[in-house]
Symmetry: C2
Subunit: 347 residues, 2 copies
C-alpha cells in the first residue's frame, strides 16, 4: 500500500452578503443609546460587518444556502473543478437555514453535486477546522479525490429588530454587535496533480470537560420560547480568560508537531472573536512567533464563526510564496474546542 497522499488546498471562495454595515448604522437601527458606538469601538473594536438580511426590514436576501452556494461556486471555479469532480462535501455551521433538509444538501443541489457523501457538522468557531479535518482524513483514507469544504453562518434568526436591545442580557447585547454573516469554501484535494499549499495538519479536539459553556445558542420550533430562558448567552469573562491561553497552546502544539521553529513561521491566522480580542491574542502569539505576519479580517467582517478561516485563507493565499508556512488557530468557546491547521507552500 502506498503512503497516504498529501492534501492540498486547491482554491478558496468566500461570500460576504450586502454592503458593510458600520457601527453608526447598527446603533441607529437597534435604537441603542448614543454612547453605544463608543462602547463598541472600545470593547469590541469591530468596524463593519455584513448581514444576509435587510437591516431596515429584516427581510432575508441571502440565506445560508445562498451564501454557501456563492462561496462554493467561487471555490469550484477557482480550482477549475466541475461539480462532478467533487466526491465529498463537508460543511460546518451553527445556523442552518432549516434543521432538515440540511443546508449542505441544499447547497450540493444548487451546485449540481450529487451521488456523494454530504456531511453537515453542527459547529461553532472551530467548524471550518472540524470540516477540514473530517474531509482531509476521508481524502487521506482513499476512495475520494476532491472534497468541497464549506463553513458559513448567519445571524438572521437571532436578530429581532423589533425588540428593544436593552431587553437583552449583556451577553446577547455583545453578540448583537460582534457577529456578522458570511460563507467560505475550499476545494481540498488528494489528487497527486493538484497544486496549492499542502495542508500539513488539521485538528480539532474537545477540551470542555467540567467547564461550563462559554457561549449558548438556543432554538425553538412549535413550542413557545420560555420567557425566563435566554435565546443566546455569552460568558465573555470566561472567553477573555481562556481563549488567549488556549490560542498560545494551539500554536505551540502545531509548531512542535511539524518541527517548525518559531522563526520559520511566516503567517499566523489568529481567532477572530472581535477586533479587540483578536488584537490581544495576536500580540500574545507574536511573543512566540515575532516574525510571523498576522492575517485577520475581523475589523471589517466581525465574527463570522464557521466562515472565518476561509476569509483568512483568501487573504493569505495570494501572499504565500514558495517555502512559506502558515498556522491557523481557533477556539470554540461554547463547550471549549481547540482547533488549528498548519499549511506550507512547497518550493
Amino acid at each position: 500500500m502506498a503512503s497516504p497522499p498529501e492534501i492540498r488546498i486547491r482554491s478558496v471562495g468566500t461570500e460576504l452578503p450586502g454592503p458593510p454595515v458600520d457601527n453608526d448604522a447598527l446603533v441607529r437601527r437597534l435604537r441603542m443609546p448614543s454612547q453605544a458606538k463608543d462602547w463598541i469601538e472600545a470593547f469590541i473594536g469591530t468596524r463593519t460587518r455584513h448581514f444576509g438580511f435587510d437591516l431596515e426590514t429584516g427581510e432575508v436576501n441571502d440565506s445560508l444556502t445562498d451564501m454557501g452556494e456563492a462561496a462554493g461556486r467561487r471555490a469550484l471555479k477557482a480550482a477549475g473543478a466541475e461539480p462532478g469532480q467533487i466526491d465529498l462535501l463537508v460543511m460546518g455551521t451553527s445556523t442552518p437555514d432549516t434543521l432538515l433538509p440540511t443546508t449542505a444538501s441544499q447547497i450540493a443541489d444548487r451546485l449540481g453535486i450529487d451521488s456523494v457523501p454530504v456531511y453537515q457538522l453542527q459547529s461553532g468557531c472551530t467548524g471550518a477546522m472540524q470540516a477540514m479535518a473530517v474531509a482531509s482524513q476521508l481524502l487521506r483514507g482513499g476512495g475520494y479525490r476532491n472534497a468541497l469544504v464549506l463553513g458559513a453562518d448567519t445571524t438572521a434568526k437571532y436578530f429581532d429588530l423589533d425588540a428593544p436591545v436593552k431587553s437583552l442580557n449583556s451577553g446577547a447585547q455583545v453578540a448583537t454587535v460582534m457577529f456578522g454573516d458570511a460563507a467560505g469554501a475550499t476545494v481540498l484535494s488528494a489528487d497527486p496533480d493538484a497544486t496549492g499549499p499542502v495542508l500539513r495538519s488539521v485538528f480539532s479536539r474537545l477540551v470542555g470537560l467540567n467547564r461550563a459553556p462559554g457561549h449558548t445558542m438556543n432554538w425553538y420550533a412549535a413550542t413557545k420560547p420560555d420567557p425566563d430562558e435566554d435565546i443566546a448567552g455569552e460568558d465573555y469573562k470566561a472567553i477573555e480568560q481562556l481563549v488567549p491561553q488556549m490560542s498560545v497552546e494551539i500554536l505551540d502544539e502545531l509548531l512542535a508537531e511539524q518541527s517548525w521553529k518559531a522563526e520559520e513561521l511566516d503567517y499566523v491566522l489568529p481567532p477572530q472573536l472581535s477586533g479587540v480580542m483578536t488584537g490581544k491574542i495576536a500580540r500574545l502569539l507574536a511573543q512566540t512567533v515575532p516574525g510571523a505576519q498576522e492575517v485577520s479580517c475581523v475589523l471589517d467582517t466581525g465574527n463570522t464563526a464557521n466562515a472565518l478561516p476561509f476569509l483568512q485563507l483568501e487573504l493569505l493565499l495570494p501572499m504565500l510564496r514558495p517555502g512559506q508556512r502558515a498556522v491557523a488557530v481557533s477556539v470554540e468557546s461554547s463547550k471549549w474546542i481547540k482547533a488549528g491547521f498548519a499549511l506550507e507552500l512547497e518550493g
Copy 2:
C-alpha cells in the same frame, strides 16, 4: 504500511425514555377526533412510542443529552470500555438540545470523554449510518482505536400540546403520530483484539439532485415564526413513492459490493418510517432476500430517526451466530440520502 484494520461493533446501548405511549393516550391528549385512532392504526400502524417529555404537562424529563448519555453509558459498559479509551466521538441528530454547545459535546462531558475530536452531524433518518461511516473511515485511517458513535432524536420542541391538532397541516399531523424519542450508541473499534461483528461496509450518499425535499423541519430563535410558514412538513406521497424503491437499490448495492448471494443474507434491517410503511418495504425486500429475517422495532418505538439503527442493532446482536450476515437499509427523505451497512459475525 499494513492494510487498514477491520472495524468491529464492540457493543450497542440504547435508551427509550418514559413509559410507552399508546394511540389511545396520544389521541386523547392531543384532542384528536375519535376516528383518529383507527386512522393511525390503518395508515401509520405504529402501536406505541416513547417521549422524553411528560405528555400531560409537556415538561421535558429526558433531554437529548440525557438520552444520549444513558445510551452512551450503556454502550461503554457493554464494551467494557473506559471513557479514556474512547478517542473519537461522532453523533448524528436532527434535534439537538441547543445549537451551541452541541449535544455531542455535552454528552462527552457527562461521560468523561475529553481531549478527543467530537463531531455532531446534522442528519435525519440516515444519521446513524452517516455517523458510523465517518467514524469507521477515521478509525480505518489510523490514529484512533475506539469511537463512540451516537444517534438520537427528540420530538419535544415540535409538540405544541396546547395547539389544536386540526390547525396543523396534514404532513405535521402525520409527523405527530409517527415519531418517537430515543437514543442509541455503539462502540466501534479498530483494535485487532476487539470482538463483535465486523462492519464490512457502511455508506451514505446524497441522491437529492433536482428532487424537492420530502420532509422539512424549521426552527426559530429570537425572531417570531412566520405565521404563513409551516414549522414542519411531510410529503408523504413522495416518501411512499421513493423510499421503497431506494431501499431495494440499497440492498442490491450492498449485496453486490460484498459479493454476497441473496440466500447468504440472514437478517435485514429495513427503514423504520412507520409500521405500515416498514411492513410494505420489508415485503418488497423479501422478494430479493426471502430467507433473511426482518429486524424491526417501529411498531413499539415509532420512527426515532437517528436512533433507529441502534435499536435494530440491539435486537440483532444477541441473535447473530458465527458466520451470519446482516444488511441495514435507510433512506433520508428530507433531501434524499441513501444509506446502509453490511455486517458479519466471523465464524
